[in-house]
């Protein structure tokens, strides 16, 4: 693991409060796996901000991040300009075990800023011959992003809380029949993860988790999630952020 300079190559607003940033760094792009994140330094801030890798272009040596402006750190990041350099640690963590999903039918379920890691995951799974279905939940139409990109991977259902676009409600309302799913991968707020895993009980699945982080590398015990293992916990930054269903207690 290293601290890497990530040069901003492109920056676009792709939805309300949502920024897409393409960052240039050969090493990170070469080794990034779906589900991993980068821990970004923000000028004037004590703690780094963890942001998932949403896409990778190994040829161009770039990684794409998608993030929502929710507070001081993300708004400072959003205000950076093309050609400025962000200091990031990464790629960090254990991603989705894509090798174990070859040729299967995979359901991706993302909520809000949980959607980004699923895109890179979906692309890699497609390459491996998986059949992809995506259910993506957003607050409302303004917040919807990457719909087209997901459609290119497979059937994609958009759900909005207020019904302003796609289906109205939560992602759980739009889940396909269990029997049509070999494995599911989900990322989003904990209540969504809970609802999804209980809905899809019996189906093998992987969840990607979030927690406030200190070090981001496993040293500070900030990002603990209870587990049934012998030590009683897992570290989201180091052991996760992706866990197999049942590996951690939600």
């Amino acid at each position: 693991m290293r601290k890497e300079p990530l040069r901003i190559q492109q920056k676009h607003q792709i939805a309300k409060d949502t920024i897409e940033m393409v960052l240039q760094n050969n090493r990170v792009s070469k080794c990034a796996k779906p589900g991993q994140f980068i821990h970004l330094s923000v000028n004037g801030h004590t703690l780094r901000r963890p942001i998932s890798i949403a896409d990778v272009n190994k040829q161009a040596g770039t990684v794409t991040l998608l993030f929502k402006v929710v507070g001081k750190g993300t708004s400072a990041l959003a205000n950076l300009h093309v050609d400025e350099v962000i200091d990031g640690i990464g790629p960090i963590g254990n991603g989705f075990p894509i090798d174990r999903m070859q040729d299967s039918t995979v359901l991706l379920i993302g909520g809000g800023i949980g959607v980004p890691p699923l895109y890179y995951l979906g692309k890699e799974l497609s390459k491996q011959g998986c059949q992809i279905t995506a259910v993506l939940g957003f607050q409302s139409l303004n917040y919807v992003f990457y719909e087209e990109q997901f459609r290119q991977l497979g059937e994609t259902v958009i759900v909005t809380e207020d019904g302003s676009y796609g289906l109205k409600g939560l992602v759980t309302a739009a889940l396909p029949d269990k029997k049509q799913v070999d494995v599911f991968c989900t990322c989003g707020p904990v209540p969504m993860l809970k609802a999804v895993t209980s809905n899809l009980q019996g189906v093998p699945g992987y969840i990607s988790m979030e927690e406030r982080m200190g070090c981001g590398v496993g040293a500070c015990f900030a990002c603990i999630v209870p587990s049934n293992n012998e030590i009683g916990y897992k570290k989201i930054c180091k052991d996760g952020p992706v866990f197999a269903v049942g590996e951690v207690i939600l």
Partner: protein, 304 residues
């Protein structure tokens, strides 16, 4: 050549820089970034008798020039630490300081005793000041009689030099320092975190699940410098200074205030290379300020 080495009870430090307890785990993660042999010492995460799971999350939050944490002394327990973590760290050419904590005097004694046969641990740091545990912690750290009793008890069972880590959340830091010195402490660690809180407006509750947490980072440096400075004038045991250090000039400020060595905590999170960077920069900073060695600078902020 600037001499950065320094001799403290139990510790032959090649340089005065060490990661602070709780901000570096047991070193494994940061060993991915650089050779830990570069460090003067490593202060391990607190050890308690049994495994502790710590507080619910969220456990950290950011503040202006600082952060709050309420980890709650999560650790695998002293025996696992001795079996699995110390041997890893012992591979590196650096000193190991074991931070020990407990809920009762007896627990402190047992944890301290457990390190007696661990030759690779050079000293103990007695954490009587963790603000994030309900039993023990705070009371030990804010009452000078109890602090002295725990110090004395640990000194009795331990064969290692004992550095007592004091809480800044006290009316009179000098009284605390003198009490633990009189009780036999070989050195002091100053300071642990200031107790603080942040309230999350959207949810209208404290951000940390534990409600309060320990404030660390550059925000608290002036408090740390003041305490090191005041204590230095009243004790004769060495002080390991900490609180908000992130540059070699911060280190010099602590040395001038009276610290003999300096620990770096929160800054590791911002910059995982901060310790080796400080170690590399320190000789130049010492030289530019007219010092030939670390030793030379200690206490020089007190005039002649």
């Amino acid at each position: 050549m600037i001499n950065t080495s320094i001799e403290l009870p139990g510790l032959s430090l090649k340089n005065p820089i060490m990661p602070a307890s709780g901000c570096f785990g047991f070193g494994r993660e940061y060993s991915q970034f650089y050779d830990l042999g570069k460090l003067g010492a490593v202060m391990m995460k607190a050890a308690t008798e049994n495994m502790r799971l710590g507080n619910p999350t969220p456990r950290v939050t950011e503040t202006e020039s600082g952060m709050l944490n309420a980890i709650g002394l999560q650790n695998p327990g002293v025996h696992t630490i001795i079996e699995e973590e110390v041997p890893f760290l012992a591979q590196y050419d650096t000193c190991i300081i074991a931070n020990i904590a407990g809920s009762t005097k007896e627990e402190y004694e047992r944890v301290a005793y457990a390190f007696n046969d661990v030759k690779t641990v050079h000293a103990l740091e007695l954490n009587i000041s963790c603000p994030n545990v309900t039993a023990g912690g705070v009371q030990f750290g804010t009452d000078h009689n109890i602090a002295a009793q725990v110090t004395m008890a640990v000194k009795k069972v331990s064969n290692k030099p004992v550095y007592v880590k004091l809480s800044p959340n006290v009316s009179n830091i000098v009284e605390m320092a003198k009490a633990v010195e009189a009780a036999g402490a070989d050195g002091l660690s100053l300071i642990n975190t200031l107790t603080g809180m942040q309230i999350h407006l959207p949810s209208k509750t404290p951000v940390l699940a534990n409600k309060t947490g320990g404030l660390s980072g550059p925000a608290i440096k002036p408090v740390a410098i003041r305490m090191v400075y005041e204590v230095y004038e009243h004790v004769s045991i060495p002080i390991i200074g900490m609180g908000g250090v992130s540059t070699a000039t911060d280190v010099l400020e602590f040395l001038l205030a009276g610290a003999s060595a300096v620990a770096v905590g929160t800054a590791n999170f911002q910059n995982p290379y901060v310790c080796p960077e400080i170690i590399d920069a320190l000789p130049t900073v010492l030289k530019e300020n007219g010092f030939r060695s670390v030793e030379d600078a200690i206490g020089k902020g007190h005039g002649i």
